[in-house]
Symmetry: C2
Subunit: 451 residues, 2 copies
């Protein structure tokens, strides 16, 4: 277990297959390691003396100083030899980016590599690397094309490098932070079970995302998840749900995917929140990593756009929420300052001329209502009377200790503000339905932990 630390907190790193040529995988990896890692970096390439200003070595043997982690990006046929060199050199862990193993039918080659795992910890092969945003980036994708998220509290374990990478790119775009990201690839050694256990104990990770295509360790997955879930939510997405999709998984990773029913049942039994779509993954992670638990299914909806209030109410009721009227106390409090044409009932419609002050007073009145467990705040930031002080009001609303989520749909102006709110730890959704779906994931998690 503890030896996984080498992947996230190494002291010195060798990049085997570092390349001088921009656009090459071995160049991008070195560039990304260099731009994040503060320890010593040793590029390995027999054909040059320097890459990106770093002294380059022709082999590991040349380096006298201790190295604890190596990243390998060389042709598949050379990987085994490189890992053997790492073992001789007492390197503790390797991240094998190289593809060309079981995913293309080269099972023997993979098996030969797997045997070495007794002596060294391995992530991959056929993976896109790992990321701890402020410490180490071993991914092979250009940081200009695929932005990295800031340090945050979502831990990602992904069997598809592509899907995982795009999700963190999107996270960075939305202003959502990530604690650790691991692309497990063909998982010949380090797998989802061990990483779940690791992230389960990781203090920086408040919520774990697992993107799974197949597993040979169903029972272990259930066991470890059961241990983690009471303290930390796990969100899982399973792909390869249909027979055809499952065949596509086989040709993609060389692994067998189970049926949808088997996985859904296992997730349920484990207390794992299942994401039904790729959109749900980040939507659920945003709320589960930032908001306190939802004590009941009674929520309130606050809006400055009547139409949005109606849509949110429809979807909330269909999702099993109670959107009944507020308490008399809350209603009376609202009546004191709201104009006559506003709606005091739940949903509370502040109408299109709502000011920041009207939002602030309403949020306080609603959250003081003991029956209300959570609040969905819809804001049309584009309206003339809404100003940026609303962002402070929304941030301060967290002090009530109840879950609060924001719904804001719009273009550039709105999305700039959305990012600011995400950075303040408030999950923002572009449609009422996505907001309510996320609130439902929070409700489901609450039910699981109460059991």
């Amino acid at each position: 277990m503890a030896n996984l630390d080498v992947f996230f907190n190494p002291k010195a790193i060798a990049v085997i297959g570092a390349s001088r040529t921009p656009g090459k995988v071995g160049h991008a990896i070195l560039e990304n390691v260099k731009s994040t890692f503060r320890g010593k970096i040793y590029p390995i390439n027999p054909n040059t003396n320097e890459i990106l200003g770093l002294e380059c070595f022709s082999s590991l043997k040349e380096i006298k100083e201790p190295i604890d982690l190596a990243i390998i990006a060389i042709p598949a046929d050379l990987v085994k030899g490189a890992v053997e060199d790492c073992i001789k050199r007492k390197i503790k862990g390797v991240i094998i980016i190289s593809a060309g193993f079981s995913e293309i039918g080269e099972k023997e080659k993979e098996l030969a590599l797997k045997k070495l795992s007794k002596n060294i910890r391995m992530i991959g092969p056929n993976c896109i690397g790992t990321l701890s945003p402020s410490k180490l980036d071993t991914m092979f994708i250009d940081r200009k094309k695929l932005k990295r998220p800031s340090e945050g509290s979502i831990g990602f374990i992904t069997q598809s490098g592509a899907v995982g990478a795009c999700l963190i790119d999107l996270a960075s775009y939305e202003g959502v932070g990530v604690s650790k990201f691991i692309s497990i690839g063909n998982k010949i050694d380090v797998d989802e079970i061990e990483l779940l256990e690791y992230l389960g104990k990781d203090v920086e990770t408040r919520c774990i995302v697992l993107y799974l295509e197949s597993t040979e360790k169903g029972a272990e997955l259930i066991n470890i998840s059961k241990k983690i879930v009471p303290n930390k939510p796990i969100i899982a997405f399973k792909s390869g749900k249909t027979e055809k999709g499952s065949k596509a998984v086989a040709s993609h990773t060389g692994a067998l995917a189970g049926t949808e029913e088997v996985f859904s049942a296992a997730f349920k039994q484990s207390g794992i929140i299942e994401a039904e779509t790729t959109e749900d993954i980040l939507d659920y992670a945003k709320i589960l990593s930032t908001q306190p638990g939802l004590k009941s299914n009674k929520i309130a909806i606050l809006t400055n756009g009547g139409g949005f209030g109606v849509i949110a109410t429809d979807y909330a009721i269909k999702s099993g929420f109670d959107v009944s009227n507020l308490s008399k106390d809350a209603e009376n409090a609202l009546k004191k300052f709201l104009p006559k044409y506003a709606s005091y009932n739940n949903p509370v419609d502040l109408t299109g001329d709502a000011t920041t002050e009207r939002y602030e007073k309403s949020i306080n009145a609603i959250l003081k209502d003991k029956e209300v467990s959570g609040l969905v705040i819809i804001t049309l930031m584009q309206l003339p009377t809404v100003d940026d002080e609303l962002l402070d009001v929304l941030r301060d609303a967290k002090m009530h200790g109840k879950p609060i989520i924001i719904c804001a749909m719009g273009g550039a102006y709105t999305q700039e503000r959305t990012k600011k709110l995400e950075k303040l730890g408030l999950p923002v959704y572009s449609t009422p339905e996505r907001a309510i779906r996320a609130m439902k994931a929070l409700l489901d998690y609450g039910k699981i932990t109460k059991k």
Copy 2:
């Protein structure tokens, strides 16, 4: 019918209630009209001589030249008098932005206004205005806070100004164009029926979006839709689906919303494509306004990220698509240039080192397969071997005459390219599920028109 033209092609406009004060509704409207309208503009405000560099008039009487459209943004109590002045002045149409009528229980006031509709055409009251992107913007929201989409082929009719406005803001952000946008508000005169008929005949509109909270004209809605749908798709979203949501509609617009079942049945009978979520609205409009019909349910999926291919396949099969293998001819064509480790079957996985050339040849091979009716192209634009020439290849793929949609998930780098593709008339979706849902809407529309 033809008299609705005055709202979209007026020659001279009066803005009644024009304001000098930035931030005020009457200021924003004048600013927006001025920045789009090429005809003569007459601000009406008795307290000043000039606003935004335009000569200001104290009343309509002062103006000698002909005026055909007036926009009214003054307190509710003054609206009736202003409309009467417009009638005297032979103005053909008014857009009444002012609120304070039946939506807050002032039914008498609304009825009095309604009586005037024998002599003048009215949009509103309680609406946010209209938009023809390159001709006229009468909305009261700042163009900096809420960007306007470019000229395009989607026509929007919305009963909720808020939802409609946010949707076109989002459209502009995604690079999706709009032909006409009309917020109908309390619809005392011009309503969804007449606008459907108008947009049905409008050559600039290829697809109509209808956001509806309530209607008193169910039979007419069915009849007019049946006439339009064979030539032009209509996408409708109905809010106020649950009892509670329906009550929220009542307090919001003063109208009665029917049950979900009634509306869904009416939409089905009319050949209207129903959007289940607000996200579906634009997702469906993008594909239905740009892509040719889908001749069968057999589609192909092309990807450079295996995981995305699996997710798309799963969701396509669940949605009733046939994702069976390609023809032998197509498969043989692919084998000629694809590397051994790629997948030739459907989904076709070009793998992470796919170049633009590999995409181009594959697209041609797949679209030549007579059994394949449409193609979902998944592109991880972040990968090192993908360059911007891919955008040209994707544009050229349209020449096969089969529907093509793109799935691209990611941050700023990806989204910049997404916008470019949208402007080329290719719908882009951020997740495989959204892409497939949109393709399903296209399939459904095809089935309707075949009947």
